[in-house]
Symmetry: C2
Subunit: 144 residues, 2 copies
DNA sequence: ATCATTTTGAGACAGCTTATCAATTTCAAT
DNA sequence: ATTGAAATTGATAAGCTGTCTCAAAATGAT
């Protein structure tokens, strides 16, 4: 079992080493759970891990997910009233068309848009790690 | 004094009429203050308006800004731990490059991206009303 | 002007996240 | 392997943002 996510584990260890932080059972556990998903909230992970590890505290999960952000493995995204922690490894495929009439959501991907995003970023001296694109409007049925 | 933002005021009145809502002194006041900015938080507006109107409640500002969202004049955007209310009239200038290292925000506009967004929407039978595009990454200084 | 309806303001309340702190764990140096 | 300074954990308190409550006030159709 395990022995997956080797690359990410190395990245975490490197970050820990650089900052005089320690590798703990909880951090390993949370990393493995985190890497299995595309994105998750702290609360969701808390419930998910409670089955195998009932005494893992919610605060530890928050601390650890924020640590992953610092280490460049995760990225926090505020959505609604909660914070989603996105798995950096799964980037792309995250654009949405949202109908404000019926709340239908259509996912899409467009390479040309992504390329232009890179262009804009470069012009401004940025290196993009992730992005978020949402188009709000009316779908064919809600247009009347 | 005043007599500005006529178009938006008409739009608000139309929304109020359709939903059996009333035009109040506070709603006019908050609308005028809101339209002067590109985006603002409820808390910031609370402090801003406290000088001229010390008894305007924070709850009223939240309610009113959410009303503007319903009326299509504003758009809520969660950023950090707070909600930014964006002025729709300034759209086209609403895309952001956000540095995850220092939280610096660079605004940009790109017609080609907007055109491709329209294209994607049309392909899916949507008519876009607004959009949100945020690119997250590291600025030139935070890249080390 | 009247009056049913809506809105306001103030504070209580709720949800999500971080801070606190004693007890435990890690890990580098024996 | 043992030690001990430093970091981490878990439980809960505290903090922050935003919404709800409700009596008093304002609106606007009649």
């Amino acid at each position: 079992m395990a022995a997956k996510h080797v690359k990410e584990m190395e990245a975490l260890k490197e970050h820990l080493g650089k900052h005089q932080l320690k590798l703990t059972r909880q951090r390993e556990l949370i990393l493995n759970a985190f890497l299995r998903q595309e994105h998750i909230t702290a609360e969701a992970m808390y419930h998910q891990l409670a089955k195998s590890d009932p005494h893992l505290g919610l605060a530890t999960i928050y601390r650890t997910l924020n640590l992953f952000c610092d280490a460049g493995l995760a990225q926090a995204r505020h959505f609604g009233s909660q914070t989603q922690y996105d798995n950096i490894a799964h980037k792309g495929h995250h654009d949405h068309l949202i109908c404000t009439g019926c709340d239908k959501i259509v996912e899409f991907e467009n390479c040309d848009i992504e390329r232009l995003q890179e262009e804009v970023a470069t012009q401004n001296g940025f290196i993009i790690k992730t992005h978020r694109l949402e188009l709000y409007g009316l779908c064919s049925r809600c247009r009347h």
